[in-house]
């Protein structure tokens, strides 16, 4: 596929722009923010004040209140910085949202190391692990603004509890101008028999660059964008992996229980014996300054690090 190296507005703005149109036509939708904003969010409060609520920096209240409103029939979107809407309010997510099985969409912004220099308080590299443990929950982790924008309609139509992870700022478009569907939960961006890299979120971008490197060395490398982390579209995934010799998962997240773990669990349960490597953050906090790419470099999540790791693993 061709890559258009243009920056869009942020993922969340792509999403909110689409979501605003949905809110305007369906007054049953409400939005609750825990004191988190976005340029595209201002319109909600200004133009649809009866559908927009601010609870302050109080994520437990945000999710508990969402439960109350959804219980009374509203479609509720909640919004906060990712670690706080997931980890901080985790028990509310478990009981008030998932066990109640209510139509609540929780939007976390600043996934992975997006809040790089903010430190581990703002890093969100544990949320996939804990959120995917919750029954009834659907988890979306789009790779670009196009996918994020499409999620507005997808999340609106889906009555199940949902958790959406966004980057903090602009991210390169992968799918601009392309005719792709985000309904299936994953997209095979490239196919290759020697190795398939299953990546999610921002790491899809790194995976495509790793693919270029490895292709130059003669390997046939595929890339799958696993943008829906739960439920995983198992049948489609196995169809795409058919005939592939090696699998590597790449995520900007802790290895413990992350996307790679979910793939490994799937492989074990389905007796898939394809050699599989998981790449992600090891058992460490990242106190490192210097920015997100520096963190990637330090922990082997940059293009050089991922490429070298795969080459060693494949004995190249």
């Amino acid at each position: 596929m061709s890559q258009t190296a243009k920056f869009t507005i942020g993922m969340r703005d792509a999403f909110f722009t689409e979501l605003f149109e949905i809110f305007a036509r369906d007054p049953n939708c409400v939005f609750i923010t825990a004191d988190n904003g976005a340029p595209s969010l201002d319109r909600f409060g200004d133009e649809l004040p009866d559908q927009f609520f601010t609870v302050g920096i109080a994520e437990q209240q945000c999710i508990g209140m969402a439960c109350g409103m959804a219980y009374e029939g509203r479609k509720v979107y909640t919004y906060a910085i990712a670690p706080f809407i997931s980890l901080r309010a985790y028990e509310q997510q478990k009981i008030d949202v998932c066990a109640m099985n209510l139509p609540i969409v929780s939007i976390g912004v600043g996934r992975g190391y997006a809040y790089d220099i903010m430190g581990p308080t703002h890093h969100t590299v544990e949320d996939i692990t804990i959120m995917r443990a919750l029954p009834n929950l659907t988890i979306h982790n789009p790779a670009d603004g196009v996918a994020a924008g499409a999620l507005a309609e997808i999340s609106y139509r889906d009555a199940s509890p949902q958790y959406i992870r966004f980057d903090r700022a602009g991210i390169e478009d992968l799918y601009a101008g392309m005719d792709v569907s985000f309904e299936d939960g994953l997209i095979e961006i490239a196919h290759g028999e020697d190795l398939c890299i299953i990546a999610t979120g921002v790491m899809v971008h790194n995976a495509l660059k790793v693919r270029e490197r490895l292709t130059e060395k003669g390997l046939k490398v595929g890339v799958i964008d696993l943008h829906r982390l739960k439920p995983i579209n198992r049948d489609l995934l196995f169809e795409k992996l058919s005939g592939v010799s090696n699998v590597c998962t790449v995520e900007e997240h802790l290895l413990a229980g992350g996307m790679g773990s979910s793939i490994a669990e799937l492989f074990i349960d389905e007796c898939v014996s394809t050699p599989t490597l998981r790449i992600g953050q090891d058992d460490r906090f990242a106190f490192d300054m210097g920015g997100r790419e520096q963190i990637w470099k330090t922990y082997g999540l940059d293009v050089d690090g991922i490429t070298a790791r795969i080459e060693r693993w494949m004995g190249k």
């Binding site: 609520f53 609870v55 209240q61 508990g64 209140m65 439960c67 219980y71 009374e72 009981i95």
Partner: protein, 304 residues
């Protein structure tokens, strides 16, 4: 026995409150306590003392006509919403709901048993139970969402949230309190079961290392957040009805905090105001003594 038609929900808003009514309700409360004991013995589980603490409050709300509800139509759109945030009080709430007719009384006799819908901590899906509860500090945030929606829609139903006082150690309650006052949720009625005990010990009687941090003055705390605060004896029907008298007619944007001073284990000389009994079911001589005591209370109330 007083005329039970006094207690039908449809008639209650104009019910004449009298000593006879209070006596009738006291008999119901005694029945609830005895049923709670039976249920706990059957399940070998259940928070008996927590249930005894809240008994008069629930009997007044459900059987004394304070709340607007239809047992035969649990999801009636115009019902008052009752959120039991102290989910461990489920055993006592079930007894009240069963007596009101929300589900067959036989359900009570299989509390926590195979095929039962009644677990120790309440679960949505049981007729009369709105949301899951049991993890403390959830009910008030949820209640603000329900009350917010009720206010937006211009509905006249109220949201009653029953909080345990030891639950108020959970910070999420105060996140919700901040919102409730700011959003002017005058349709929210917080009822605090103020028995001054948690699991291990007392909250405001620092005698043992097992006693919790001090919590008074609860009145001042709620008032400082902006609640309208009332405090009363939560076992005295006269005081309970006074405290709730105008909840439906008042025209205020301030949420209510009704702090009911109660006794954990009220009704039992064995368990009342004692450490130790939070999650214990009496047995052997203790059980016999408790049953005899509750039966004696029944006979006294009925003039037998």
């Amino acid at each position: 026995m007083p005329d039970s038609s006094l207690l039908k929900p449809s008639a209650t808003e104009t019910a004449q409150l009298s000593e006879d009514t209070f006596k009738f309700l006291a008999i119901e409360a005694n029945w609830v306590r005895r049923k709670v004991v039976d249920m706990a013995v059957y399940a070998k589980s259940g928070h008996v003392t927590s249930a005894f603490s809240q008994t008069e409050l629930l009997v007044a709300l459900y059987m004394g006509g304070i709340m607007r509800h239809r047992p035969e139509e649990p999801h009636w759109a115009d019902r008052d919403r009752f959120i039991i945030s102290k989910g461990q009080g489920g055993i006592g709430l079930y007894a009240v709901l069963g007596k009101c007719g929300y589900f067959p009384m036989a359900e009570l006799d299989n509390f926590c048993g195979v095929g039962s819908h009644l677990s120790v901590h309440v679960e949505a899906g049981v007729p009369g139970i709105e949301v899951h509860s049991g993890s403390l500090g959830h009910g008030l945030p949820i209640s603000t969402g329900i009350a917010q929606q009720g206010k937006l829609a211009g509905n006249d139903w109220l949201v009653f949230c029953l909080l345990g006082d030891a639950e108020l150690y959970e910070g999420s309650n105060w996140e919700a309190a901040t919102y409730a006052v700011s959003a002017e949720l005058g349709n929210l009625v917080c009822v605090v079961d103020r028995n001054q005990q948690g699991v291990l010990g007392f909250s405001d009687k620092i005698e043992s290392k097992r006693d919790g941090p001090r919590t008074e003055s609860l009145d001042d705390k709620f008032a400082a957040f902006g609640f309208e605060v009332r405090r009363f004896n939560g076992h005295d029907f006269s005081q309970i009805f006074d405290a709730f008298s105008d909840v439906r007619t008042r025209r205020s944007n301030r949420p209510l905090a009704l702090i009911a001073d109660t006794i954990k284990g009220c009704g039992s000389s064995l368990m009342a105001n004692k450490r130790f009994w939070h999650y214990r079911v009496p047995k052997d001589d203790d059980l016999d003594g408790l049953r005899a005591e509750l039966e004696a209370q029944r006979k006294a109330l009925c003039g037998e």
